[in-house]
Assembly symmetry: C2
């Protein structure tokens, strides 16, 4: 069927004409759909049956919403999202929505409705706690990254998978809007007018811009694993029990630190937002301490799980057991793993810092902070984000533990 954008009526006709979905929801029952997309690229419908069953229909639009129809984007991104969701379900079962149906022509995927789960940004602003989050997200990161890397896959398997995730148009969005445009004059950039001086200072900071260029080069060339590539807290839904990573349409083979950095950086931005959202100092400090504990726990658990997977599932590319069989070889293998994780942590700093900065002065802001209505108060958090982000990027090569990353947050926020 030729592509046409659906609305909340035609989506029901589409579902009724797809009998395989009868296994998920009673297609003969009365159905109701509402469009709930707040993203920039897609229509999202929640469809509910009178029986209480439900599902989600997500359809790519042929343009980037926030920039108007002038940004043509291939609809193939829904194929990348579907492929990535299937891979995530395979590698990290229970931590991504299930896929029920995919229609390439219509650029449409039908998937599990995550009712009872919330996108994490608002509850984090409301100081909600997620007792399983550090465990779940570190598992998601460790398993999706390890099992798609050269540490697990054979060279041939990895390159065959990589060929399915060559995703140039979505990559270009991140390349331009994370690393380049926010840091020079570009018409789509937006920032709090009270930050004019800080934005100009970033744009004139040669050391910082050189480091950002290096991070962009690394993003464009380091094909380490299948990364989600947009793993902010708006791409995570959770409740007290469950965690689900959504929206992997930017997925491609890139640097692992980009995903880990996105999670940690968004927790830091949320931390900073509480200087305005949580005026009571004791309450604020307690929740901010919780957020920094999350940052530490996520990294520590990620590193431990990644390392354990590597030891348990070493299939030999880097390197076979025989290669490490000499006296001292076990220690050399352990040191190789330790150095690899140390390098990923430095990438976490570099990518996390770049993403923190772009949220302050690029096309995409961050709700945790833009929801602060008092511009002076908002500027307090934003100035801190610029200082922390800049230091994460420029000091990345001196970062040797997650406490160094957290230390920069503490020093600047003190």
């Amino acid at each position: 069927m030729a592509y046409r954008a659906l609305d909340s009526y035609s989506v029901l006709d589409y579902l009724r004409a797809t009998p395989a979905l009868g296994a998920v929801l009673d297609l003969s029952a009365p159905l109701h759909a509402r469009e709930v997309g707040d993203g920039n690229l897609n229509l999202v419908f929640i469809v509910e049956a009178a029986t209480g069953q439900s599902l989600v229909v997500k359809q790519a639009l042929p343009y980037l919403r926030v920039a108007g129809e002038s940004w043509p984007l291939t609809r193939e991104r829904m194929r990348f999202e579907t492929q990535a969701l299937l891979k995530h379900n395979e590698l990290a079962p229970g931590l991504a929505p299930q896929v029920y149906h995919f229609d390439d022509e219509m650029s449409l995927v039908v998937m599990e409705n995550l009712s009872g789960l919330e996108v994490m940004r608002k509850p984090l602003v409301a100081r909600k706690r997620f007792p399983n989050f550090a465990d779940h997200i570190s598992t998601f990161l460790a398993r999706t990254l390890f099992f798609t890397s050269d540490f697990y896959l054979t060279g041939v398997e990895k390159k065959e998978l990589q060929a399915k995730f060559i995703n140039p148009h979505l990559c270009k969005i991140q390349e331009d809007f994370v690393f380049t445009n926010p840091f020079m004059e570009s018409p789509e950039n937006r920032w709090n007018a009270l930050l004019d001086d800080e934005v100009q200072a970033v744009r004139q900071n040669s050391a910082l811009k050189l480091a950002l260029a290096e991070m962009k080069l690394s993003y464009m060339t380091h094909a380490e694993a299948l990364i989600h590539s947009d793993l902010h807290t708006g791409s995570i839904m959770a409740n007290a029990e469950l965690t689900k990573v959504i929206d992997p349409e930017f997925a491609f083979f890139g640097p692992m630190g980009f995903d880990v950095g996105a999670v940690l950086e968004n927790l830091v931005l949320n931390y900073l937002s509480h200087f305005a959202h949580t005026p009571d100092a004791a309450t604020r400090r307690e929740y901010q301490a919780y957020l920094l504990d999350l940052v530490r726990e996520i990294w520590v658990q990620f590193a431990a799980k990644f390392d354990a997977l590597w030891v348990e599932h070493n299939r030999g590319e880097l390197m076979p057991a025989k290669y490490w069989a000499h006296p001292g070889g076990a220690e050399a293998f352990a040191e190789f793993r330790r150095r690899t994780l140390a390098r990923i942590l430095q990438d976490v700093a570099g990518f996390g810092g770049a993403k923190m900065l772009r949220r302050m002065m690029g096309i995409v802001s961050v709700w945790d902070i833009t929801s602060i209505t008092d511009l002076e108060q908002r500027a307090v958090a934003e100035r801190l984000a610029i200082r922390i982000g800049s230091r994460w990027v420029t000091e990345r090569q001196a970062i040797s533990s997650v406490d160094d990353l957290i230390g920069i947050v503490r020093e600047e926020a003190a």
Copy 2:
């Protein structure tokens, strides 16, 4: 036409049945073919007409010759070679053989016969000089690497080209036989029996093996540019005027330093071979000095040409002129280029060293040295190669100029 391996008779029938080749050579004249392949993967025929015209037919065999028929290899590598030759002709005209005809089904390419040119190994052993070589090979490297990198191509262009060069089976050969198998017990390894102690010492050297694992990871993940990936002096034909790079069937998007390192490392192996090939000390020292001058010249000219191309053809991915337009921005851009080339030089050391080592103890030796018939004399050169290769790999992060690389050669050879 279904695949069948040609012989020196059937190749003529094939050519006569391909009328388009009439533009290259008179198909109605008497033709003569001889098989001259000394490689491991292919049949190579030189076909000459009574008119004096000639061409080369290269056909992939469905197995790796040196390992016997037990190593099935896809014939698709002839497609990679042809694509790469066409790209090389486009980007570095005159520095690669011209392609006349490609037959995907037959895994066969018809190309320019490089009569009057020699594969460089033997003339280098015979102390021949190539006055244009440093200029030509540095141009080939600078242009093929720069114009296929993210410094020149847009992100979308690069990824589309990269998709055509996902080359898993040929990559695997380099991954295994350059970085892994030579450094552990593996049945195909061969070395001079006088080197038993040195080979065992390499296999037990934890620091070296850790560094080799890091270089392999970089080879497998750093998709910087379309590299030749087998650019030793056996893949270069030359005479006093001309230089042609041949055999790019291993081409894929990998680290630039791998190609530059292959050229320099092979010149160093040739340098070492002269301790046996050229007994007269004055003659030897003069030619060895020439070889180290070549090493320096090739790097210096490569770096200068790459940098000049980048300045002249900056299409904006890393980064646009506007990004560097702030006060001090020109210096920051220059520093970014300087650091990029410094990092490539460290890769040259790491990859060049790894390749030097594998030639001493892996499946593929090097004619310059194996042609030394006296095993004691041969061992002198080989021990030096092991020491120099080990230091290039383990000291790579301290290399800051090509003179550091040459200094290691001089110190060990003194």
